[in-house]
């Protein structure tokens, strides 16, 4: 996971197709690069290399490195760009689609992978242990019952999500 570098040898026409196939990626080609998304972005002022306009341009050009980059993962998904985009590209959704394509190809930053490993196992982000439930009881709150782990297992069995979690490369 590194900074995107423009390497023409790695440009492929498949990338746009792949992004468009993901939910939310449909409108990537509408983008006329006005930069409203980047001007609106709350992350960009603190992180120059998180530039949604640029990431979308790279993906639209078919620069495969965009999938290797950690940049799309810095999106806070606040949807301000999506509200303001004059071409209704839905930039936050396009970045989500790019992340989905990267994940499908096994490229997921550790922080995101760890979170989802928990979800795939216990159904939730954090385990609510006896101590937490004891604290809740003390406050007068009902206990949080665990999820049936078998149910979670069955729900995701054989899905693309399960493959991503298990680190199995999927067909591209």
């Amino acid at each position: 996971m590194e900074k995107i570098e423009l390497k023409y040898r790695e440009v492929s026409s498949d990338l746009v197709k792949k992004v468009k196939q993901e939910p939310g990626g449909e409108f990537i080609s509408r983008c006329y690069q006005c930069g409203t998304c980047t001007a609106t972005c709350v992350v960009n002022p603190f992180k120059d290399d998180f530039n949604p306009r640029r990431i979308i341009r790279m993906a639209a050009l078919g620069v495969e490195n965009v999938l290797e980059s950690i940049e799309p993962w810095y999106c806070a998904v606040c949807y301000l760009c999506t509200e303001r985009c004059p071409r209704d590209v839905k930039p936050a959704a396009v970045l989500m689609a790019i992340k989905n394509v990267a994940a499908k190809e096994g490229k997921v930053p550790a922080a995101f992978k760890n979170i989802n490993e928990n979800i795939a196992k216990i159904g939730r982000l954090f385990e609510i242990d006896d101590f937490t439930n004891f604290m809740r009881e003390d406050m007068g709150l009902p206990p949080i019952e665990p999820i049936d782990e078998e149910e979670v297992k069955k729900l995701i069995a054989g899905t693309r999500f399960e493959k991503i979690i298990k680190g199995e490369e999927s067909e591209t």
């Binding site: 709350v42 689609a97 989905n100 729900l155 899905t159 999500f161």
Partner: protein
Amino acid sequence: MSDDYLYFPGCNIPYRENQYELSARAVAEKLGIKLHDKPFTCCGLNTEPLDEFAALLFSARNIAVAEEEDMDLVALCNGCYKTLRVANKKLKQDEKLREEINERLRTIGREVKGTIEVYHLLDLIAERIKPEYIVKKVSARVAPFAGCHSSRPSDYVDFGAWEKLEKIIKLAGGKVVRYRDMDKCCGAPLLALSEELGINLARQRLLSMKERNAELAVTMCPFCQVSLDGLQVKAEQEFNESYDVPSLYITQFLGLAMGIKPEKLGIKENKKDPSEVLKRVVL
């Protein structure tokens, strides 16, 4: 309108923000809103970056549980609210997608039919609250913070969160202050990748609240509260600044005005101690 709702706790509230649930239950009870409990998985939000379809699957699983109980879902977290609200609308509108999801749900003996609605608790409170419930005035200068996912993406989530939050604050005796960039992200979603970025964003919101001499911030989401409350303490140390805008959940703020004891609202669980301000402003 029904009085019975299934409470959707999400991941964050039971793990580290139990005072939100405590104060929400106390306020809901006084307003005649009955919250029921069932084991729910993650709403799906955390899975979206990896696989939107799997995220929808988790949402649908929870929606199916609510349909089995024949009750609408009510969330306290903006993230859960947005995720379940969007999923529910998509599943109702898109028959093909619903069938695709149901095919998988049947493996766990569940199904989505499209029979329930998803609400944010703030919406239900705003509909029921009346001046006669208010027995004390919390007469502070208040910076409302409705967060992102209570009103965006607006194609799907649009219940007037900001207006309703402000209405409740005013009814409880507060003076609403507007401030720079008030509709921007609190920073919490960035914490997984970079604490530094998260703190920087939280600091921006706190600085602009301070600029308008806000005495309290009021939130309606555990992520926003973690930023404005927990990260406020951290940012004050790191930047050697003082913002002095303790943050309360709207249910804590309103609860005080409804005469509910601070212990029943979990106020001592908040990281940035609001007791000094509250001594001054609760009349």
